[in-house]
């Protein structure tokens, strides 16, 4: 092991910032190859229709158009895409895989499904020609409302299925019926939790270039997973993987949907091969609302069986999940909801089943949080309502149910999204909650509330807990090379979308081999640099790739010590690695530079010791047996104006534990961004579909992302309970900030209005002021409540 952790744990400034700040970072749309042709897609305006005919002749004839393709022109390429994540092997589970064609052929199943491609000299001309394509669609009834999507008389999204049920999964633990019978109270509610688009500020994009002389394909892609894309491309195009280089350069935010494998990702390279010209497609914002996957609604009928002192005896949850028109990402999102609902709590009995419904809406796959939000919302709301019913304090009912440190590893007896048992590796939950109580001023809040009330203001506090299963397998790898100049090159297969990988990974390497992180040149997301791995998702980069870097760096360290020991003629144990040199402990003048050792390790003449490898280089892999479980508590203080139903967030506090922290500055940044996304989910963002399934707000004018005036300053505190499942002890943090925000927000809004509307229960998210106004009217005057209110 290395001498000490000099860099891990420090807020090292980011090495990637210089390029980003000066406009010199390469994003996909910045790739400018000579002779490039540009693509525009023709997409369905209707969410559900038969394709009766498409006439591209006017587009073909348009000046500047190089090619037009319909589904029928694609040959073998026009087959359903892969199921990227097969469902875990849960007994009795049902799963109907339906994945989209690259271009729709006979039926369109969601608005925005692609129908034709125009290739032209520039994007303007491509769009001109796309507008000339005559598409004859015959509308079909659309499945829009999730609550009725599985009804027998609902129209079918896929005609070959007996119903719109895409999947059914039931997982249980203990005996819920007994728990229910023994309970002092059973809290049962229906919850609706909706989400929206990831809205990375950079839309998706692909540039592909086929070099017929080298027989190679180069693809720049805004993907979170360049290596799986390479494998899929090679398979689809009949190439060897070695002929395909996929580069995920700087990516302008990912947040989940860029992990997908989209039809465009096959079509653009295929066209480049067909036409022998570089091809560029940059998704525009309007397309992004349909063509990029998103996350949406679940409806939960849940109940909590609880003892009089607040102890959880059991939970039963039955929920519906909207997967949209297809389900290429398997069951990741609803299984995350199912598993994350359990939170940091001791839950002796759990009975959970869900049904996944196909609807005529865009495809649902993970968006930062990936279904965990839904589960946390249900559990935390049930606890709030139980506390209210039993006359318990909101914090007390949580405290009493927290798992204790001696209960780890804690087996929840069900399977997680990665097919491994849902077993929490480590945690110390009580101090996290205590710290959040302290930082949020929970104990003094009644005083604050009274003061605010004296000014005519109504404020409320929400405080909730969550866990996040992070850092799942299967594995990632890393290669580290010390060059003869002394420069250190480090590469991995995961892509990076702003998480500070270049810096955090350099810190891990720096500690192992005694260099400054600024001297470690990290390359991510280029399959020519590293071509094993899966990608950036599930809050796993720092855990899985981070530990692969750690392993590779330790292996390089061993080589350095071996060569330095020979060069300096001292025992290995007497050496230390500092400032890019191997030097003798206590005699720092006796030293040798890493570059010189790298040259020695790669002799051009002479004999080599059998069994040795050239160079100061190592490649290592890390695959955890299962994911590590991070946890945290969020607290929020809001002011609600009961006259206008406007909510202002006054304070936001996050206390979290993601194990060993490599770079606190970066971790805090991840939390800040997650919280902002969560605030969007709670109060601003909502995809609105009309009764025919058309999206009504596909623009940034009408789909509201939170701005700097909507997100408060965010106070953070860390605790570190290392994971025993990896050498660095890291747990993921990428999604943590986003997960419990809506639950905290709902509790805080209720709390602020407790004197105005004591009966108000917030059972749905998002909650716009307009919707809060209606809820308040219903609460004050139950006659106004709609008949089917639950």
């Amino acid at each position: 092991m290395s001498d000490e952790r000099r860099w891990i744990g420090r807020s090292a400034p980011r090495t990637e910032d210089g390029r980003l700040l000066t406009g010199n970072a390469l994003f996909v749309d910045d790739v400018d190859l000579s002779g490039t042709l540009h693509v525009s897609f023709v997409r369905s305006d209707l969410p559900s229709a038969y394709v009766r005919g498409i006439d591209p002749s006017a587009a073909h004839a348009h000046p500047g158009v190089a090619a037009v393709y319909l589904a029928e022109d694609l040959g073998d390429l026009c087959r359903p895409g892969p199921v990227l994540v097969p469902p875990p092997p849960i007994a009795g589970a049902e799963f109907h895989a339906r994945t989209p064609l690259p271009l729709a052929r006979d039926v369109v199943r969601y608005q925005g499904e692609p129908l034709a491609i125009v290739v032209a000299r520039d994007r303007y001309v491509a769009e001109d020609a796309a507008a000339l394509i005559d598409v004859d669609l015959e509308p079909r009834d659309a499945v829009v409302d999730l609550a009725t999507a599985l009804d027998e008389d609902a129209p079918r999204v896929h005609d070959d299925l007996e119903s719109n049920q895409a999947a059914y999964v039931r997982q249980t633990k203990g005996d819920y019926e007994r728990a229910r019978a023994e309970a002092d109270a059973v809290i049962a509610r229906r919850f609706r939790y909706d989400r929206g688009v990831a809205a990375a500020i950079e839309n998706r994009g692909i540039v592909a270039a086929w070099d017929p002389r080298a027989d190679r394909l180069r693809v720049w892609d805004t993907t979170q997973a360049p290596i799986p894309i390479r494998a899929a491309l090679a398979g689809a195009l009949g190439l060897s993987e070695a002929q395909v280089r996929v580069i995920a350069p700087f990516i302008g935010g990912g947040f989940g949907p860029k992990i997908m494998f989209y039809g465009e990702e096959i079509l653009i390279p295929w066209i480049a091969m067909q036409l022998g010209r570089p091809i560029k497609w940059i998704e525009d914002r309007y397309e992004n609302f349909f063509a990029t996957t998103q996350e949406r609604e679940q409806i939960h009928d849940a109940e909590l069986a609880v003892a009089g002192d607040g102890r959880i005896l059991g939970v039963r949850d039955r929920f519906l999940h909207d997967t949209g028109a297809y389900d290429p990402y398997g069951l990741t999102v609803p299984i995350n909801s199912q598993c994350t609902l359990l939170g940091p709590y001791r839950v002796p009995a759990y009975e959970s089943e869900f049904r996944v419904a196909f609807t005529n809406k865009p495809i649902v796959t993970p968006v930062r949080g990936a279904g965990r939000q839904h589960g946390v919302f249900v559990m935390e709301r049930l606890l709030d309502m139980a506390a209210r019913e039993l006359g318990l304090d909101r914090v007390d009912i949580r405290t009493i149910n927290l798992l204790d440190p001696d209960e780890f590893p804690h087996d929840h007896e069900i399977l997680y999204q990665d097919s491994a048992p849902l077993t929490y590796d480590s945690g110390d939950y009580r101090p996290v909650l205590d710290e959040a109580v302290r930082l949020s001023g929970y104990a003094e809040f009644e005083r604050d509330r009274a003061r605010a009330a004296a000014d005519g203001k109504r404020i409320g506090l929400g405080i909730v807990s969550y866990v996040e299963g992070t850092g799942i397998g299967p594995y990632e790898g890393a290669r580290i090379t010390v060059e003869p100049t002394g420069a250190v090159r480090a590469s991995t297969g995961v892509g990076t979308q702003g998480q500070g990988h270049f810096t955090a990974f350099a810190q891990v390497v720096a500690d192992a081999i005694g260099v400054d992180p600024s001297e470690v040149r990290v390359v991510t997301g280029d399959t020519s640099e590293f071509h094993w791995g899966t990608g950036t998702f599930a809050s796993r980069g720092a855990v899985v790739a981070g530990n692969a870097f750690h392993a590779a760096a330790e292996a390089v360290r061993e080589k350095i010590l071996t060569h330095a020991s020979a060069a300096l003629e001292v025992a290995r144990d007497d050496l230390e690695l500092v400032d890019g040199r191997a030097r003798v402990r206590g005699a720092p003048d006796v030293s040798v530079g890493l570059g010189e050792l790298a040259a020695r390790a790669n002799p051009l003449r002479g004999a080599v010791v059998p069994g040795t490898e050239p160079g100061l280089e190592a490649t290592s892999y890390f695959g955890p047996e299962r994911g590590s479980t991070a946890n945290g508590v969020h607290a929020v203080v809001v002011e609600v104006d009961p006259d206008t139903a406007m909510v202002t967030i006054l304070r936001y506090v996050v206390v979290h534990d993601c194990g060993t922290v490599i770079n606190p500055m970066i971790v805090e940044g991840q939390i800040h961004g997650g919280v902002a996304l969560g605030i969007g989910n709670a109060f601003f963002e909502e995809l609105v579909f009309d009764e025919l399934g058309g999206m009504s707000n596909a623009s940034f004018m009408d789909y509201l992302l939170p701005t700097a005036t909507d997100v408060p300053p965010i106070e953070t505190a860390h605790r570190e309970t290392p994971s025993p499942l990896n050498p660095l002890g890291t747990k993921g943090v990428g999604e943590a900030g986003a997960i419990p925000v809506a639950a905290a927000f709902a509790q805080a809004v209720e709390d602020a209005l407790r004197d105005v509307a004591p009966e108000l229960e917030i059972l749905e998210m998002p909650l716009s002021p307009g919707r809060l106004f209606e809820l308040l009217r219903e609460t004050r005057d139950p006659a106004r409540a709609p008949g089917d209110a639950t």
Binding site: E127, F684, S696, T709, G770
Partner: protein, 301 residues
């Protein structure tokens, strides 16, 4: 999201611009600040054959105080000028108060006063504010067949400009060239407030008020306008009538607000139901009237 092709003209004088419009067979469209038009072009939601870019016409960008204490505002005056120009704060403080609520700073640097009025968006701030101020607009065109040479002009009260949602009395060959804003008189006060989801968004509902008090404290004249509470930018005459000739007590103001909420015609959308909007119309009308009356009293000398 790229605009379809169009012919482009960039006249440098008003007469030149009017000539291009008159030759346009109804399919030439003026391009003012472009902050609403260009997004529509980018979305390819309709596209004119010819864009007549007004941005190089210097004679249309001015703010000039008038002898009677009011303002003449050239149609191509940037919205940001309403924040920056001290004469606006003096003569029409309501404009200066409302201007920061128009979208974001990066929009106001390009967006124009005339462009906003001619766009006729019922959710926009400037039409409502200028309605409350009793502004008039000057409209110009080239002579049509049979008319004698020169420029043909007409002047309308702003309220007569609005015929329907995004639909005005402007003919295709006409250009809105100038806005005349009466100056704030002694005893006159104004106020503006809007409620938006985020700063810079179109309002869920907004309200502007102008109240002119006589020396005896009774209301000589009043105007209330609402944002996003009907198909067009609108004055709420019923609300104003409630106050005229009486002392604007809180009870009277509440009556006026109820009248405004009843008379307005808000539509439901994703940001709020009709009931929510009426509720806000009443609330905001009350707030702006109370504030306007307070300011008016300070100015009763």
């Amino acid at each position: 999201m790229k605009p379809a092709p169009f012919e482009y003209a960039a006249p440098t004088t008003l007469d030149e611009a009017l000539s291009v419009l008159s030759r346009g067979d109804g399919d030439a469209r003026p391009l003012a600040g472009g902050q609403s038009l260009v997004p529509m072009l980018n979305f390819r939601l309709g596209g004119p054959a010819t864009l007549v870019d007004l941005n190089a016409i210097e004679e249309l960008a001015f703010i000039e105080p008038t002898a009677d204490g009011g303002l003449r505002i050239g149609a191509m005056t940037r919205q940001v000028a309403l924040e920056r120009d001290p004469s606006v704060r003096r003569a029409a403080p309501l404009l200066a108060e409302a201007a920061p609520s128009i979208a974001h700073a990066q929009i106001r640097t390009r967006g124009t006063v005339g462009g906003s009025l001619a766009h006729a968006d019922p959710a926009a701030e400037l039409p409502a504010v200028l309605l409350a101020l009793g502004a008039r607009v000057r409209i110009a065109r080239r002579p049509r067949d049979g008319e004698s040479d020169g420029r043909v002009e007409r002047s309308l009260p702003l309220e007569d400009l609005y015929l329907g949602p995004f639909f005005t009395a402007l003919e295709p060959d006409e250009l809105l060239v100038e806005i005349a804003v009466p100056g704030l008189r002694p005893g006159e006060g104004t106020a503006f407030e809007e409620l938006a989801r985020r700063s810079g968004d179109y309002a869920i509902v907004g309200a502007a008020a102008r109240v002119w008090l006589r020396a005896d404290g009774a209301c000589e004249e009043a105007a209330v306008s609402l944002i996003n509470a009907g198909p067009t930018p609108c004055l709420l005459e019923d609300a104003a009538a409630t106050l005229r000739g009486v002392s604007p007590t809180p009870e009277r103001i509440e009556e006026a607000a109820v009248a405004a909420a009843e008379a307005c015609e808000p539509a439901a959308d994703m940001h709020g139901s009709e009931a929510y909007r009426r509720h806000l119309a009443r609330l905001l009308t009350t707030r702006v009237l109370l504030r306007a009356v307070g300011r008016a009293r300070e100015r009763v000398a």
